[in-house]
């Protein structure tokens, strides 16, 4: 039982970290992805670097695809973990039935 609890707690922690991570990534990148000039702005509002933003979409696509793949795989592993917890519980039931 202790092992199962550890697994459940671990999944919860992982979900929290994932949500925080996605939120922070979004907050960090939205300025340059959705800005019209694609450059970095100085403190007084003047643009100090002007770059063509025509390829920003490609950069964002790479970033997006990469993270979708990683989170997809982590989700796949969490599903596997759930199956394992289910199997362990089933085995516990079988053993307790045999004992009784």
């Amino acid at each position: 039982m202790r092992y199962i609890e550890t697994l459940i707690n671990y999944s919860f922690l992982k979900n929290i970290i994932s949500i925080l991570f996605i939120s922070l990534m979004f907050l960090m990148t939205q300025d340059i992805i959705f800005s019209s000039d694609g450059g970095t702005s100085a403190a007084n509002g003047q643009i100090i670097i002007k770059e063509s933003n025509s390829n920003l979409g490609y950069l964002f696509a790479v970033f997006f695809v990469t993270w979708i793949a990683f989170f997809g795989y982590l989700f796949f592993m969490s599903k596997k973990q759930e199956n394992i917890i289910h199997d362990i519980k089933e085995l516990e039931n079988i053993i307790s039935n045999e004992k009784s």
């Binding site: 550890t6 992982k14 990148t29 340059i32 063509s52 490609y58 970033f63 793949a69 362990i88």
Partner: protein, 224 residues
Amino acid sequence: MINIKNSISNATLLISAVIFLISLYLIFIWVPTEINQGIAQRIFYFHVPIGWLGMISIIIVAISSFIHLITKNEKWDNLAYSSAELGIIFASLILVTGSIWAKPIWGVWWTWDPKLTTTLILWFFYLGYLMVRSYSPAGIQSKQYSSVIALIGAIDAPIIYMASVWWRSAHPSPNIPMDLDSKMLITFLISLLSFTILYIYMLNKRYNLKKIEGKIDEIYRNIN
């Protein structure tokens, strides 16, 4: 012992998250834009670490499979399988991110360049390995067949690395230029570190799950 292992695993995930945030800041905001390729060059900070890890994966699969063939120890097979599963994700990402980079730079999504073609072959090796494991009857034979696929697949890794040197290729050279801007080098190294830590975390997680799956299967077999 389980708690200690979980703590280490959680710490790895946390470290990975922090370094990833730093690397994202560096990639999107801090690093200067390359003069010829423009913003599309920043794709390399994702693409190159993913490419290295995709190649390292097949080497891990091959070495583990080789040891498994000699020792018949299950833990090496578990490691090989876990690495192959991660390998196909990284190999797919190499192809996808490479295609996305190629479109603005070469004007095409795909070309039969030696580097791209050999990478596609690597992807097929991973696919072959996992298909043999999925569709063959469970047992030692499927593990042996897949091990042989992994050993052959590992030959492809150095070929991919050297493809742009050995053949006329439009793909950039595998070596880091000596005159590379220090900010670009730092960004690349931090990105490589962040992907590597995430890779270690995921490999460790998958390996542990595979080990537990094996033990549960064994218990079921004994009960039945």
